[in-house]
């Protein structure tokens, strides 16, 4: 790929990369509370504030609940707002996540994905954000620190787009990405500034028929977060769904624009395909696991095995069409879940992918692998065993055991 603009290579852990992206994104308000493994983000950002390197009001709140309430209120007032959390912090925000998306506040949040208690565990899995999948937030998962950096910058554009106006959470795997130093290509401040611009506001009609910007503005008083009962609530919710649908196109478009500037692109912004064109067997995963999976696929390809990988970069909105079309030639598919849906029919990604393939002709045989909970390491050998099982499924044209656990003592 051609590098279009000048960039600076920095050694950054995922959390630092996120903080650096926020520093460059002309953010007005950051309201956040520390929690492992997100802590570095708030620490690093506090340094920027203390050293006068950012023009941002940093509100060091007393809980994640208040972090989200303050971010939402700042955003409603017209500020560009950012926060970050993980695990229990995200769970504490649960109530406010729905309010933020319902108020159509384009808050951007980094989630350093971590397991949920009990038992207490500080390491990486997707239990925290998967539990919030119906909260009306756009969800993106980064594969590495570079993507975490790039996604945060893109997230402001996506969230603030007038056809979207939804909050965006960017997931980065706890410790695996949040605390691991990588070389990250960073854009120059002026390039980020030019890419993001200042926040634009959608106009709405007042009851007097006047067109005014959608924010809390004493010049044009507006009531936000009202009570809407049986006669209006449903329409509000339907509009949110429409905004989610619009986000699919917007994410693709912004991924394209960003790619032109930086030379980096993540598939079409929604899904990234790896050797899928002629793949007979394939896996789907989110986040950092894809890095290891790609080396496994490389090795299999060397051996002449038609293996492929689909990395779901955007989980909400779920890109149905992109997934269906990417998997159209696949005969046996493994869906990987780094979280559980207790009592459900497999993990959340499995349930959704299996459901969206129901309508396709010749859909593949599908198997679910639940793996890596509480940060349990998943080795290339274990990941290779998935493809070996897929080869068996391909032969048998039948899935013996649809829900499996990888690397678990039973």
């Amino acid at each position: 790929m051609q590098i279009v603009t000048k960039q600076k290579t920095m050694a950054l852990a995922g959390d630092q990369a996120v903080a650096y992206a926020v520093k460059q994104s002309d953010v007005d308000v950051v309201a956040a509370y520390p929690i492992t493994p997100q802590t570095i983000i708030v620490e690093k950002f506090s340094e920027y504030v203390a050293n006068g390197e950012v023009e941002t009001e940093f509100v060091c709140v007393e809980s994640e609940h208040s972090a989200m309430a303050a971010s939402l209120a700042a955003s409603a007032t017209g500020a560009r707002a950012f926060t970050a959390t993980a695990s229990a912090g995200l769970a504490l925000m649960h109530e406010m996540l729905f309010v933020t998306s319902g108020c159509r506040a384009p808050v951007v949040m980094a989630v350093a994905n971590r397991a949920l208690s009990a038992p207490l565990n500080i390491h990486g899995d997707h239990s925290d954000s998967m539990a919030q999948r119906d909260s009306g937030w756009i969800q993106m998962y980064a594969e590495n620190a570079q993507e975490a950096y790039d996604s945060i910058i893109q997230a402001f554009r996506i969230a603030e787009n007038s056809n979207v106006l939804l909050p965006v959470m960017v997931g980065l795997d706890g410790f695996t990405l949040s605390h691991t130093l990588e070389n990250v290509e960073t854009l120059l401040d002026e390039d980020v500034k030019a890419f993001i611009g200042t926040r634009k506001f959608s106009n709405v009609l007042t009851h007097e028929g006047k067109s005014v910007p959608f924010k809390l503005d004493p010049t044009n008083p507006m009531t936000m977060g009202p009570i809407a009962l049986q006669n209006y609530y449903f329409e509000f919710k339907r509009q949110q769904e429409e905004a989610m649908k619009n986000a699919l196109e917007v994410i693709e478009q912004i991924n394209g624009e960003y790619s032109k500037m930086s030379g980096r692109s993540y598939g079409n912004g929604l899904v990234e395909t790896y050797y899928l064109e002629d793949a007979e067997i394939a896996a789907i995963c989110l986040g950092s696991t894809a890095g290891t999976m790609k080396t496994v696929v490389d090795a299999l390809r060397q051996e002449g095995i038609k293996a492929g990988l689909l990395r779901l970069r955007t989980f909400r909105p779920l890109p149905f069409e992109a997934i269906r079309s990417a998997l159209s030639n696949v005969k046996a598919l493994a869906v990987m879940d780094k979280s559980m849906s207790f009592g459900g029919n497999g993990g959340p990604v499995f349930q959704e992918v299996r459901s969206l393939l129901y309508d396709t002709d010749n859909h593949p045989n599908i198997v679910n692998y639940i793996y890596g909970l509480g940060g349990r390491d998943t080795s290339p050998t274990e990941l290779r065993s998935i493809y070996e099982e897929l080869q068996n499924i391909l032969q048998a044209k039948h899935v013996e055991k649809p829900i499996q656990y990888l690397g678990l003592r039973e």
Partner: protein
């Protein structure tokens, strides 16, 4: 005009357009509705209001109608102070960056007793500790009235509510009303006051003072609820008077932290100050003795 200069007369009040408008769905004789209307009369310029879930939020914002003549935000029950934090932070930085036109915008957070004494106290304490410049108004109707009269930390001792009924064994609420304004004074915040809508001029003056101080201000307002109190709607204001006169709800103010003790430092009160010191020392000595420790000299 500052509160010292502005004489709140009936004429002033009548001439100033309402910002909490008629048409809301509050009950007849609703104390909180009167309180909110009066308070909005005391605003001094551009103002943003945020409000906790509760009676006043519900009656004033039924979509597609609104009673608010100012920008208004509701998000949840426990969030009026954290919302105020976000609004104030946004206004501060956006003014610095030239992104808002107004020279200054006041921020008022409203919450009932549930949203203040109970579910909202953490966010309130945090926002005050951080020193955000906003006025927090507690309209205290002494129970969760919006959900049907359940007891709160602000319900007085002995009161019957649906979750502290006066039964055969338990005669209403056993616990005492939490001293919320004292708790706020203990935050060493710039301004804390209590007020009653009967003494409307006092109420309006305190609102203005709360807006004028730099940093957080807390105003605790007595607000009778005819439905919840099983009282005559015509008597809400009368009760607001009686509560003050009987010392059930004393009105007072504390400026810059411990203003309530300022008089003790006057020469004529020297003995009072010495007495307080003596009692404090004696109590401390008792604690040391009980803990098996002795005073270090």
């Amino acid at each position: 005009m500052t509160s010292q200069e502005w004489k709140f007369t009936t004429k002033d009040i009548a001439e100033k357009p309402d910002l909490f408008l008629s048409g809301h769905r509050a009950c007849a004789g609703c104390g909180p509705a009167t309180v909110l209307r009066l308070i909005m009369k005391a605003t001094r310029g551009p103002t943003i209001v945020t409000e906790a879930t509760g009676c006043m939020e519900v009656v004033s914002s039924i979509y597609p109608y609104t009673s608010w003549g100012v920008p208004w935000l509701h998000t949840a029950f426990e969030t009026s102070a954290s919302n105020a934090s976000g609004i104030e932070a946004a206004l501060k930085i956006m003014k610095k960056k030239g992104r808002i036109g107004q020279e200054h915008v006041d921020v008022i957070a409203f919450a009932g007793d549930g949203g203040t004494y109970d579910i909202g106290i953490q966010a309130l304490s945090g926002a005050v500790e951080r020193g955000h410049d906003f006025l927090f108004v507690l309209y205290d109707n002494e129970a969760y009235m919006n959900t049907g009269i359940q007891r709160s930390g602000g319900t007085p001792h002995g009161a019957a509510t649906t979750t502290s009924p006066a039964g055969k064994v338990i005669p209403g609420k056993l616990e005492y009303k939490k001293p919320i304004a004292d708790i706020m004074v203990a935050h060493n915040m710039p301004y804390v006051a209590t007020a009653s809508p009967y003494y409307w001029k006092d109420l309006l003056t305190k609102v203005r003072k709360g807006l004028e101080v730099e940093g957080p201000a807390f105003l605790h307002v007595f607000a009778p609820c005819p439905r919840g109190w099983r009282s005559d709607p015509a008597k809400s204001i009368e009760y607001s008077k009686l509560a003050v006169e009987t010392c059930v709800f004393p009105v007072w103010e504390s400026v810059q932290g411990q203003g309530r003790f300022r008089h003790m430092f006057k020469p004529q009160n020297k003995k009072l100050l010495e007495e307080v010191q003596r009692i404090t020392d004696e109590r401390w000595q008792r604690i040391l003795t009980k803990s098996g420790m002795t005073q270090k000299s």
